[in-house]
Amino acid sequence: MGRLSWLILACVAACSPYSFQKEVTAFSGGVDQLSDAFTSGYSNLAVDRAAQTQLGLTDSRAKVAIAASCGVPVSDLPQSQLPCELYAAGGATPGLMDVQKTRAATRKALSVLKDYAHALAAVTNASDRTAFDGAVTQLSGSVSNLAKFADAAAPGASTIAPAVVNIAGWLVGTALDQDRFDSLRRAVNAAASPVHSVATTLGIGLETIGDARRMVLYEETRDLAARLGPSLNDAAYKQQLTEAEAAIGVLDGLRQSDPPGTADSLGKAHDALVAAVNDPSRNYANLMKAVGDFSDKAAALQTALSASSKPQTASTQKGK
């Protein structure tokens, strides 16, 4: 009998969804960072382009117009989606790069992945079980108080009734834990292959945004570098060199970022979660390592895409 109890306890411990809470939380955090990397990438691509436009306007001393889109709020009107920017009067109206048009579709795919990661976190959230246990304790207490009135008619009722509540609470809690674990196991196994498809696609998306930013930054830096020469006084030379160095710094950060590696580590972290859920006793160490790798890469990628090249101040142009 004693041996059976230990076996039951061992199964309950091994099949607890809460043993994965820490790693699942880290996994979910990594997915959020991946999403933030997209947001930063799209936003900073617009900033990079604005900086490039400003440089072009300053060099040509052009008359400037305000894009028509600035006059209307962003709405279903297609033209309202165009950038609200200054541009050379008489020149081409500012438009979106093709990659910027993928934002809505990207947001939709990211939302599905984020919801999935958050559901993993919800089903492994141990504080829900703590709250459940607290409610059972509260119920047991109030039943105990009520049962005291029955003691006269049924001696011992105030002792037995709360014990029954506690046992029932334990049984229900254990069953709910098992439901959570079963749904976790079914979900991660069903998502094993789809997560790879989504991760690879989003990895290509991040590469695409990174490449668009690198192209704009390369051309901006090239134009900044072209201004440098002996005709500038010391202060102007130093100032413009600093600006070129700042832009090349952002460009280099994007070069060093690793979207395919991050996407790959997302898939591997999920694979490790599947293995750990299927056999918690053997694969936990792999899970910790894979999730750690993914979190680190997602954070590094987000940092690279968050760096921006701000438009320069007028006082720094043309050595003035």
Binding site: T102, N125, Q138, F149, V198, I204, T208
Partner: protein, 120 residues
């Protein structure tokens, strides 16, 4: 029909070729000794190669994003999400129910105590 992995592999190969050409172009410009106008021509060529590279990335991304495989994958993730959220909600619903019953029991206890006091 190409899988997302196929699309990714094709993109990788095309980008590797373009990367080499872009590198060579910039290196050639930096080496100097160019006749008048040649540097501008090289800049233009490098720009065109970068535009092509962006087009390759974009084509791969849109191809993967709109593929049947991606649609199916997102559907599977949504279904898994729904199942887990339902399981997670059962415990919070049970907790809420028990809390309400306990509060009701507590109120009933106070009423019983009060009634017992008035009867005494």
């Amino acid at each position: 029909m190409a899988t997302i992995d196929d699309i990714n592999a094709q993109k990788k190969a095309a980008v590797a070729t373009l990367d080499q050409k872009i590198y060579d172009g910039i290196a050639q410009k930096n080496a100097g000794g160019l006749a008048a106008g040649q540097a501008d021509q090289l800049d233009h060529g490098i720009h065109e190669l970068m535009v092509q590279r962006q087009a390759v990335y974009l084509q791969a991304y849109i191809g993967a994003l709109t593929s049947a495989e991606m649609t199916k994958a997102l559907g599977a993730l949504s279904a898994a999400t729904t199942e887990m959220n339902t399981a997670a909600a059962q415990m919070t619903t049970a907790t809420s129910f028990i809390t309400n019953v306990a509060a009701l029991g507590s109120a009933a206890g106070k009423v019983a105590t009060a009634l017992k006091g008035s009867a005494g």
